[in-house]
Amino acid sequence: MDWKRFGFIALIITILIGTVVYVGQTRQTPLLIITSMLATTIAVATPLTLGALSGVYCERAGVVNIGIEGMMLTAAFFGWLGGIYMFQIYGLSAGISITLGVFFAIITGGLMALLHAALSITFKVDQIIGGTVINILAVGLTGFLNRQLFFGKGSVFGGTVPSSPGVLPTIHVPITELFAPLCGTSAVCLENVQAINRVFDQKPIAIAAILLVFISHYILFNTRWGLRTRAVGEHPRAADTVGINVIKMRYANVVIGGMFAGLAGAYFTIESVPSFEPLLTNGRGFISLAAMIFGNWTPIGAWAAALVFGASQALLINMQIFRDVIPPQLSFLQESYIVGLTPYILTMIILTGIIGRTTPPAADGVAYEK
């Protein structure tokens, strides 16, 4: 474990949240601010975490994947579309349609990744170009189909966007119910318990993302599969010599990575808002890549980095919510372009190696030729 790096990340997140607590103290209790910030942080970090995990699987197996953005966008579209189809055309219930939508998104991500795998592993195309193809293809494909299916003449849905089956529900963790009796009659205590509960009341994909971080960590570093994945990413020839099928391992990991990106896509159109808009991923796939590098190609590191991105976003939002009570000496924090840069500056600091070395897999981006 890279404790120096995690310490640094924890410090940054503490500073970000602490700043808001300091600024907002005249209006809101610290606990309420902290829990609100954490809830926002976790939610914002969800697609970044999944995107970064996608990158970790691909790159640990030796395939650079800059097509995460495109995989997310395509999955967001097809997950949403699949949900609507099931709901409107096949008349399934909203709950089943939404669930199936998530699966469509995951499958879409996997298929896009299969294309990337075919290009970069079988055809040995430059992996950066392969990823770029995925990104361009995603923008064109989703924009084209979105138009043709919903807005074109004689389109399936007759020129209007049908109402989607909705979004995934929030999963309520019964902390309030469990601890409320301890509060007795104290209203403040009850309010605090409810505030803490808010951090844990997340939606299914957000919860899944956190579980997947630890599952991925276990798989990569504690299983035979993980060892083989890392072997083909570090030294494919050596792996081949001991009988590991390099091509197969790489294919499998790229497709798994794509499925993670697919789940990230589902977050946008099935968990966050029930609608699709062209280009709605807004570069989050690329931010995921930064998070992956920031986290030194490890699942937990990438998650921690995604949380930094989430926390800085939460800071930006809260700085404006507390705009009226910001002390004058901190007014520069309202200039969102200053605070918005924080994660990117941190990524660059990390890359310089001041806080522990950042080492990509040795065979990352190199096609394997027997």
């Binding site: 209006r27 309420l32 609100s36 939610a43 064109g140 494909l141 808002v273 969102s336």
Partner: protein, 379 residues
Amino acid sequence: MKKLYFVMALLIVASMILAACGAPATEAPAAGATEAPVAAATEAPVAEVTLDDCVKEEVFCVGLVTDVGKVNDKSFNQSAWEGVQQSQVDGAADLVQFIETADAKDYAKNIATFGDAGFDVVVTVGFGLGEATLAAGVTYPDVKFIGVDQFQAWQFTEDTADDSANVTGLNFPEDQAGFLVGALAAMMSESHVIGAVCGTDVVPPVWRYGEGYKAGALYADGMNSTTTEVQVVYHSDVGFDKTFTDPEWGAQTAKAMMDNGADAVFGCGGLTGNGAITAAAQAGKYAIGVDADQYLTLPEAAPQMLSSAMKLIVPGVAELVAQAKDGSIAAGNYTGSAGYAPYHDLEGAVSDEVKAAMEEINAGLLDASITPGVAPAKP
């Protein structure tokens, strides 16, 4: 290796074709003309007007260039396009046509497409197209340009060098629209905390919405002796290309506000605002739309849609096109009017006192006895 090049070439060509098709309307109108506009044209009383007729003196053609986004964006572009269609129904325009802008780099190109095709009026939608519209005004002196939401600052400068004789900005008192819904939100809020999620405050109309919202809440507080906390968040941390198209950010911001006690959220800023509205509605809080009556356009949020801050874009655009037709249009700025949308499903939730107060405020704004007191742009 040959096989490889073939596959690569095929993929790249395929993706480029798809990318091009994704925004078919940015192509020459000849290609886009097979879309809806021609269908609309055939409904017009003049039999079979085609694009080729636009160069003729007697055929009055109106083109519309959207801001980055779609003509059915459920908000801004859509209302302007409905205004143009209205002018066709009214008989002012013989042929109407739109181009959807896929990328901010294409503004000038898309406007030029109409200029070259001999259109008489070009409506450009959105603040972002302001510069491109002014430049096109010089290139095509015979074309009248209507810039929706484009404030023509040259009208107020001493320097006459960049004065334009054929560009009219259609502006709206957004501060009044924001004022109306701000007052409504403050009167309806039980927690006395209300929020607004907006696009970037660099765009003056967005700023006026947000600040008008605050002013309206303050006015309502004065009427009812309450104290309402108003949280206005602008999405200024990204560029123009993203600030209005980020529903996920809007939803997160709305959630953060609701965590801080807000029980009414005003979404002002295209798709970003729509995300906030949807999130507020899902949480069972009051949602307030913008620009158009979003009850009709956001079915997901409709049950909780309290009202919308309306720019009366449709009559504004139709009026200016009619003026362009009869030659009475004046270069400079034209101010349309603002309003608020009906309560729809929440009709029963809004008390008669609040309804009466809203009508009073609306009347006060119209006869200028109430002024929001908002600066035209962020200082």
